[in-house]
Symmetry: C2
Subunit: 470 residues, 2 copies
């Protein structure tokens, strides 16, 4: 994203769900990617993942992502890893296979390229075994779907992981550098514990796959999408804090609650039981349908966290801040009344209604955000609001001229029709990528003293900026 | 909620975070509650929880909840449990204490009242020990904050849990009946496993509380807010399904990943380490602030799932369906052009903007939903859309007259100004609880053939309903 002068080039070895997810994120964030997978079906499978990413990822942002990078499918590792800065390994989880592939990669890649393994279980020291240049091999463990979930666990040489973290942030991801290498890093250690316990519950006939999933998504899953376990329990501990909570809850660990010491045998019978329960729970959807439902849900959830500027939502807002600086330039002082770009974005999947198009109220949302850009450019920004002033909308009139569908690129240009005393009268025009006007909007705002909630004349810097407009 | 003729009366024994959360949910869903807690501070503490609930729960719905029930603080158990249908026990997690309280409750309550223990660890058979009427004692284990999180685990006598499930649904909750009684039911078994593993990670210096929380909320927490573990992994398994996934992932269980066999000693040192890390992570917020951030996040997350009609969002939509039938009556055929109620709701916390009031675009959302009610009442409902017809908005003009704040009750009345041929012209008026007009809106819609996306004349039943309007 926001390509720097020195363009990072990406290579991906392995085009499964994880490798394909990496490819999709690199491409959609604007970088060129080379990929290699010996599977003759790989290109088709990768393109399916890219399709899913195209319909979900761009809608996470309030601004258009850079143009997609280009994808080159290579026929061998040598060609793939030449002249790239980041080599992503996403082949099956077999250590000797990974070690062989690393040897071949290192025979052809640059000495200072990052070789980032998607390994969910292995430690860097295992992956580096016998390597000619071990420091360049690190773990960068992502989560499915890679094009939406921000987390990447980084493990390995601190210089390399530091460099990697910078690049991952450019991809809109959340790098989490793990302090010590351990099997399965952090997240999979936690997941493994739940998985094991879940298998026991099914094995013992206590719960079905659906019941366990419902216990998660109607319960602690909602908590964990925004705060993790410790922050959640901190609240439960009340003003007395975590030490108090541990004193209360701690002893439970000694009770015979879990069957964690043993692993249920994954017999044919247990496997069949789980598969049947899963069919009953989700079998009425194909995997493709489930993927899209999941992605649309994630877009809606993550977009809702943006409005609270919290967790994954804060992460997305940081990307928006980068994107807007090259697009609507909210910190450049406005000098003209004539139309300027105030929005440049795609329609998120979460904005559709029963007619299958962008809901009428979302047009108002787009225009409202466009006005915010004008306000920031005339000096009515966070600092001005803190001083106790801003504009309130008094009247908004929208003409709907054409439908917008999910993924449609839209731009808004806004002009200042009138800026006089307390009054600010804006004209918005929304177009799609074909240049068709989708809607127009006239929006009348009035300058307000936020303490008295009454109208008043603008103060500096707004007054001066308005006065100087062409 | 939606009180039935025979009004269920609730009693709560214990006014801590969980008891107070139950009290708040009962009250806000429209039921009277009696509560007892020997702590002289109990009433103050309960009121703090009710305050938190008031600012978050009503905003989950698109319709106004029934009037709040009344709260009676009692001075002993006898007075509290008399003449009620549901007695909620939420006292500390000590078995002998709970057994004593059950004995006292049963000495005074009705034989057919449900005694629902919030116990997170104990089995009904333990709670029922020596009881005179064991079948009436069940576990109904909720999750903090009880006024927002839908999950309740039900364990015990199947007749009693069936009756309890019906009542919990009236409270907008998701009852999950557990098939076999086990220590800690389902969710806490899973949580306990993660907690244990988390403690090891901190003990061993692998991660801090913040790093573990970030591994959750930037990663699998987002997945688990909408699909649980098994449905998520089903997707990872691809078209080959769960059996394939288990074959792939299963063996990892035999790897030495987890340290689950031992429990880290909760020494003073480890407790201090966790408390210090937690302070560093979240100490800049008070618990009250954290509670409100959490609640606002949950409202935003759950409301976003409503737009996808999925999981906890589907749950909320079911409640809306009940609420709308007593409010805007969308299935009653419209017979008049003059104003009818089309919205009756509160402003959710997630609708505010930088000015601290309802964002201008949310007025459009309210009016858009009000139009949907008119459309449904003139026959343009799901069935009509399936037949290939509906109305599209062509023009919308909103006049903003007064601010709305989070929690404000607003109503919209809508009249049909014109319904002629393809044209439908609506007039909306939004008022707050004081009767002040907050906004007016004129909305012009046109009837459309959804296949050709072109305007056309309405067909039956819409044509006939419009013709018959007063």
């Amino acid at each position: 994203m926001i390509k720097s002068e020195e363009k990072t080039q990406f290579a991906v070895i392995g085009g499964g769900v994880i490798g394909g997810g990496w490819v999709a994120r690199f491409l959609l964030m604007g970088f060129d990617v080379k990929v290699f997978d010996p599977d003759p079906e790989a290109e088709r499978k990768i393109n399916l993942v890219i399709e899913n990413a195209r319909r979900s990822l761009p809608g996470l942002f309030e601004y258009l992502l850079p143009d997609e990078g280009s994808l080159m499918v290579c026929s061998n590792i040598e060609e793939t890893v030449e002249d790239v800065q980041w080599i992503c390994e996403a082949i099956p989880e077999r250590l000797n296979l990974k070690q062989e592939v690393f040897a071949e990669i290192q025979a052809h890649c640059s000495m200072d390229a990052i070789i980032a393994s998607s390994a969910s279980g292995f430690k860097p020291s295992e992956l580096q075994f016998m390597s000619s240049n071990p420091e360049q091999i690190i773990v960068a463990h992502p989560f499915n779907p890679v094009y939406l979930i921000p987390l990447v666990e980084l493990v390995g040489n601190s210089k390399t992981t530091e460099k990697a973290a910078t690049i991952l942030k450019q991809l809109g991801m959340h790098p989490l550098t793990v302090r010590k290498e351990i099997d399965a890093h952090i997240a999979d250690r936690l997941l493994e514990a739940v998985w094991r316990e879940g298998l026991w519950l099914i094995n013992d006939g206590v719960a079905t796959t659906k019941e366990i999933d419902d216990a998660i998504r109607y319960g602690f899953g909602l908590r964990w999408a925004q705060m993790g376990m410790f922050e959640t329990y901190r609240i439960a501990g009340g003003e007395d804090g975590m030490a108090h909570f541990i004193q209360q809850f701690g002893p439970a660990l000694k009770w015979p609650w879990t069957k964690l010491t043993d692993v249920p045998e994954l017999s044919e019978e247990l496997t069949k039981k789980i598969a049947q329960q899963s069919d009953q729970q989700s079998g009425h959807y194909s995997i493709t349908e489930l993927e899209r439902i999941r992605d649309d849900n994630l877009v809606a959830l993550m977009r809702s966290l943006k409005t609270k500027d919290w967790g994954a939502g804060n992460q997305l807002n940081q990307v928006d801040t980068l994107l807007e600086s090259t697009s609507v330039k909210p910190s450049e002082i406005l000098t003209q009344r004539s139309p300027v770009l105030t929005s440049n974005r795609v329609v998120p999947t979460s904005w559709l209604d029963a007619n299958g198009h962008m809901n009428d109220s979302r047009y108002a949302e787009v225009f409202s955000k466009a006005s915010d850009i004008i306000l920031r450019r005339i000096g009515s920004d966070v600092g001005y609001i803190a001083k106790g002033f801003n504009y309130f909308t008094v009247d908004m009139q929208i003409s709907y001229l054409n439908e917008c569908l999910a993924g449609d690129k839209i731009t808004v240009f806004t002009s200042i029709h009138l800026a006089e005393g307390k009054k600010l009268d804006l004209r918005h025009e929304m177009k799609n990528a074909q240049g068709t006007v989708c809607a127009t909007c006239t929006q009348f705002l009035i300058h307000v003293d936020l303490a008295s909630r009454k109208s008043c004349l603008p103060v500096e810097p707004v007054a001066g900026i308005l006065m100087a407009l062409d």
